[in-house]
Point group: C2
Chain length 223, copies 2
DNA sequence: CGACTGCTTGAGAGTACTCAAGTACTGTGG
DNA sequence: CCACAGTACTTGAGTACTCTCAAGCAGTCG
């Protein structure tokens, strides 16, 4: 994803004196590491908060519950991603580890005590917030205007792109995917079967896949 | 260093007297006013941008188009609202005036030349971005997990709340509402008819309504 | 091996969509 | 003031896509 034009390019952070330059290094200098096991809650919905988080290892989902149990997964986060950025004094979503994970946690109000590194992290947080807003708009388009087939295709494309490697592992269950895409678990399953039958993706087991026809997948996503 | 010609003299906000305190005042001190007539485009999708906008009078919609013509309205903006905050070097959406409107425009990269007022506006922009992200998450939940009836109820509740008065004017057409809620124009129309039949809202013409049963509407929204 | 959890598949139902026609509101010209 | 045209909105009938409910299959752990 592209960077906001008004924020300094990453090169601007680089000084001749070996300052930390990756977000992981900046965050690592300030945040404290926490580990969570599969399914464990990192924070709760409506919980008061002054924290910001970064995935170091594993994967995290942010979910929101409606009174009657309907659930929506706002997003999935992987190593390097910042999360818990929702505005306001309380978290609008809860966050849970999708597998055994390590997470860095920093108190936002304390950043000013960390001098240069704190300021850098602050800028990183704002940049991440802007990017999250962009992804959110993309996802709204997906939810509002795309078919189940296109939603699942878009999701697989997204996950594959983030992981980068030829074969992609799905850290989440079908139910999580369904709640992210506004579908039912059965429909997600059917669409994956369909995508496979159409030769768009190839699965190995139900949690591991490879993109078989990148061009056709790209068409589905752009559509 | 050259300053954009349309920006007012910097001296205007360095005086110790009468510091602006509302976002409209801060923005007004820095931004330049533009007027747009009904339906006129304020900026285009994928257009390069370094601008931030505030509605002064009228109403604005932010829309995104898919290649095949499917449209999604990302949001509606009213006097006082900041818009055009989508991250990245280009606008992820276009913006159009819903009626004759006046809009303040400021160059983001120029804010640092405006001293205190510029910093304040910068903070306002970040705060607005965070709030927008929160609204975006709410809207994702609406799109992913709510019925057409609940979506329209939620929308009317939202608009009414923003306007505050007993009777609420709808600045947008049914098609805009449909594209915002991920429905068709016919379904929106049917749901409004239904809400009226159920005594939840009362319409006067097709662009003006009043909430008739606030408690039942609140139930539908919270649900 | 059996139990458990997660995933897939099938049949039928329901919500929202598509296509089509009809109604209301607005502005223009006679 | 009314006729007319144009746009926006509503309503109706039939269809399609996704959901619900139910059963079967697969991988995992004791």
């Amino acid at each position: 994803m592209s960077m906001p034009a008004f924020l300094p390019d990453r090169a601007a952070f680089t000084t001749p004196y070996a300052q930390p330059i990756t977000s992981a290094e900046i965050f690592g200098a300030i945040g404290s590491a926490m580990t969570y096991s599969d399914g464990e809650e990192i924070y709760a919905q409506d919980e008061e908060t002054d924290m910001v988080y970064q995935v170091q290892r594993g994967a995290v989902r942010a979910s929101r519950l409606l009174g009657d149990g309907r659930r929506q997964i706002a997003g999935f986060y992987y190593p390097g991603d910042l999360f818990g950025l929702e505005a306001g004094p309380t978290h609008r979503a809860s966050a849970e580890a999708l597998c055994d994970s390590r997470v860095l946690v920093a108190r936002r109000s304390a950043l000013k005590h960390y001098g240069e590194a704190g300021e850098r992290l602050e800028r990183l947080i704002w940049r991440a917030t802007g990017q999250e807003l962009g992804r959110c708009h993309d996802h709204m388009m997906l939810l509002a205007r795309k078919s189940a087939y296109e939603r699942v295709a878009g999701f697989l494309s997204d996950v594959a792109q983030r992981q980068g490697s030829a074969w992609t592992e799905l850290a989440m269950r079908r139910q999580d995917i369904a709640d992210h895409l506004g579908l039912t678990i059965e429909t997600v399953s059917r669409m994956i079967t369909q995508l496979q039958a159409d030769g768009v993706v190839a699965l190995e087991g139900c949690r591991r896949f490879r993109i078989a026809a990148p061009d056709r997948l790209a068409d589905l996503v752009a559509a």
